[in-house]
Symmetry: C2
Subunit: 327 residues, 2 copies
């Protein structure tokens, strides 16, 4: 068996973690020959509940699980970390303004960024799931100047999967027949789920479903899917979020299949006229543990407007927290 992968998870007593951990130790992350050392971070008041989760992890008798560390200290959780899932975030409380939410999370993610900077492996991959994910990822990476910004991404894979599933249902096809769905922008209702480049069994998706359905139904359904799940289920998405986090991390450490890509929010390099210095979801290909933003896609006027609208929201979010960036 190989050296264990050090996998750190924050918000480890939460629902997404509970849906993720047991899949990790079953080998869904890096195969059934790769042992894992789990480092679980929680706020002190959640540590007792987390002990119950640790008992259940033991009760799986999973051959891949080498050890479990439970801690409230990010520097313990992130020491020599290879892969990090930042699931924990401050939820929006009653009467809380968006600015309060952003700033409350900025404190958490700046501290976690500094800890990653100090103690994580230089090859660490940090996936931010806790909302507002894109701006939380930006805060973390800005506080980790000795790591590359390419060590960080925020999750838009759940949006990507929702879009994929919705299109397949509309076309009456298998999800495997759909390629080149893209989520652009923020993991928020400003995101732009884009069918411009998508194909279904090699045919243009837009030609199959039509612009009216794309603009009037597909886009708002994907944008508002999180709220719809909460409305029906009475709780926010947990298992599907964990599934997407696992999928995004697997893509990042693996490789996208030829002719297809995935959506990942990464630090903008100015591609497609998106402002630099925000964490923005692009279609990316992956290979060898790295990602590349898909190049030279033709962007129509409608798409460009939607892409810039989501960038504008991310610039606004950044403006609310940038006083917390280190100088």
């Amino acid at each position: 068996m190989q050296q264990p992968l050090n996998v750190a998870i924050t918000g480890a007593a939460g629902q997404i973690s509970y849906a993720l951990l047991f899949r990790l130790i079953a080998g869904e992350l890096a195969g059934n020959q790769q042992s894992l050392s789990l480092r679980l971070l929680e706020v002190p008041e959640a540590l007792p509940m987390l002990e119950g989760v640790v008992m259940e992890l033991a009760d799986c008798a999973a051959p891949l699980l080498r050890d479990v560390v439970v801690t409230a200290d990010p520097e313990v959780a992130f020491r020599d970390a290879d892969l990090v899932f930042l699931l924990g975030a401050r939820p929006r409380g009653p009467g809380m303004e968006r600015r309060d939410l952003l700033q409350g999370n900025a404190e958490i993610f700046s501290r976690q960024g500094r800890a990653l900077n100090e103690v994580a492996r230089r090859s660490v991959k940090v996936l931010v799931v806790g909302n507002p994910a894109n701006t939380n990822a930006l805060i973390a990476l800005r506080n980790a100047p000795e790591l590359s910004p390419r060590n960080f991404s925020a999750m838009t894979r759940l949006d990507h999967n929702r879009a994929l599933s919705l299109l397949a249902a509309q076309c009456g096809c298998e999800v495997g027949e759909v390629k080149r769905i893209a989520i652009w922008g923020n993991h928020s209702t400003s995101q732009f789920p884009d069918l411009s480049h998508a194909t279904v069994s090699g045919r243009s998706a837009l030609a199959l479903v039509g612009d009216d359905w794309f603009r009037g139904s597909f886009i708002p359904t994907v944008q508002q899917r999180g709220a719809s799940v909460i409305q029906v289920r009475g709780k926010s998405s947990a298992a599907s979020a964990a599934n997407a986090a696992l999928g995004q991390m697997r893509s990042w450490i693996g490789a996208t299949p030829g002719g297809d890509w995935v959506s990942m929010a990464v630090l903008s390099d100015g591609s497609y006229g998106i402002a630099e210095g925000i964490v923005y979801s692009f279609p990316v290909t992956t290979a060898g543990g790295d990602f590349q933003i898909a190049r030279d896609l033709p962007i129509g006027d409608f798409a460009r407007e939607r892409m810039q609208a989501s960038a504008a929201e991310l610039l606004e979010e950044r403006a609310m927290v940038e006083h917390l960036f280190p100088v």
Copy 2:
């Protein structure tokens, strides 16, 4: 891709189901080439919440998930079923006697047994997880006279995994080094988790850990582990139960490795002097979709007494519900 497996799950809006479903559609049950058709059964009042779970299943864009049927009718859920997870059961309410609990569940499981009898594939594998699991399985199989009792088992894999993990921790070894742990009897505190035959890297486990630890610590810890998890976590085991259900079903449709076995509660054939006609956990080997009770194990006096005590409890349980068996 092969024909989809029809997989039915009861109590589908519950916590164990929520921890199980997303692992099934990820390919953990029958590999990543085997598509699945899910049939989810719930009581009518839980169907709205189940719709939220179905939304999240769609949001995984899982290539293996062929379709999902949601129903409150067992004959719809079990039609042509290949594999069935009976997770749902009536929980013990305040002031409820054991007899009431058994009878309340007997009604559920006799109805489900009749439905399986009518509409399931003749090769169906039915795994009972809902407690009291052994007697629920007995009621179901007695109500399905046109199916073989060998189509039914109750889950003691969670106890088995807990025992495995506890022994490995005590020996400071990997779980993969432990073989031939056995759970005998009822999935209750009367169960007998047995180290008599167990080995650690080929050496006698009992010789390593000693009789005192085995009798004074190991046995009660495994017997009471469920209650310990509830005490710490504030909720009963869900993810570890789902993991065990998945493991037991995988063993049943697969094959145990040479020189090892798993624990499964099946209809007693009188082996080891255990009364016939109760569903009792034995060490079993599996191959080709069938199981065999491990033969010719030497049973000492201490073990025999514990094994018979759990059988006696199961005979008592049967006596409380057998008026509900069909004549």
